[in-house]
Symmetry: C2
Subunit: 80 residues, 2 copies
């Protein structure tokens, strides 16, 4: 079983990395870029046989380690 | 128009960040984790009106800045 976790900054939180990307792209001549945001994608290979148990564990993993829940939100997708 | 770019390590490239995540999760007691991989997701707000032109520009952005094409591959999704 596999879990795919998207972690991104919550709306309203300053995204210096995204700003730097947007500015660099414009500096390289890509004028069509208005804004940029960067997040993480974490893929986990799991030994779970049950999707619900996997969903519960991965939620705990996000809350404890994978996301800084003060400034980040996360979205979990479990795949067979 | 919006572009969503997934950037990840090519198969076979060592992923120390992924290894560290997997090890930390097991240390926290999540024994169901066999392996982990971490990539980036970059969202761009674009001024383009034409999808094909946006696709071409974003591909160039990846080749020049957003992905290290020696060790990373990327996937682009253009949304209206």
């Amino acid at each position: 079983m596999k879990a795919i976790i998207h972690v991104g900054l919550k709306p309203g939180v300053l995204d210096p990395q995204g700003r730097a990307i947007a500015r660099s792209l414009v500096d390289l001549g890509f004028n069509g870029v208005k804004d940029a945001r960067q997040g993480k994608v974490i893929e986990l290979d799991l030994t779970h046989a049950d999707k619900a148990a996997a969903q519960k564990d991965v939620t705990n993993m996000c809350e404890k380690l994978l996301a800084n829940t003060v400034i980040e939100s996360y979205r979990i997708t479990i795949e067979d």
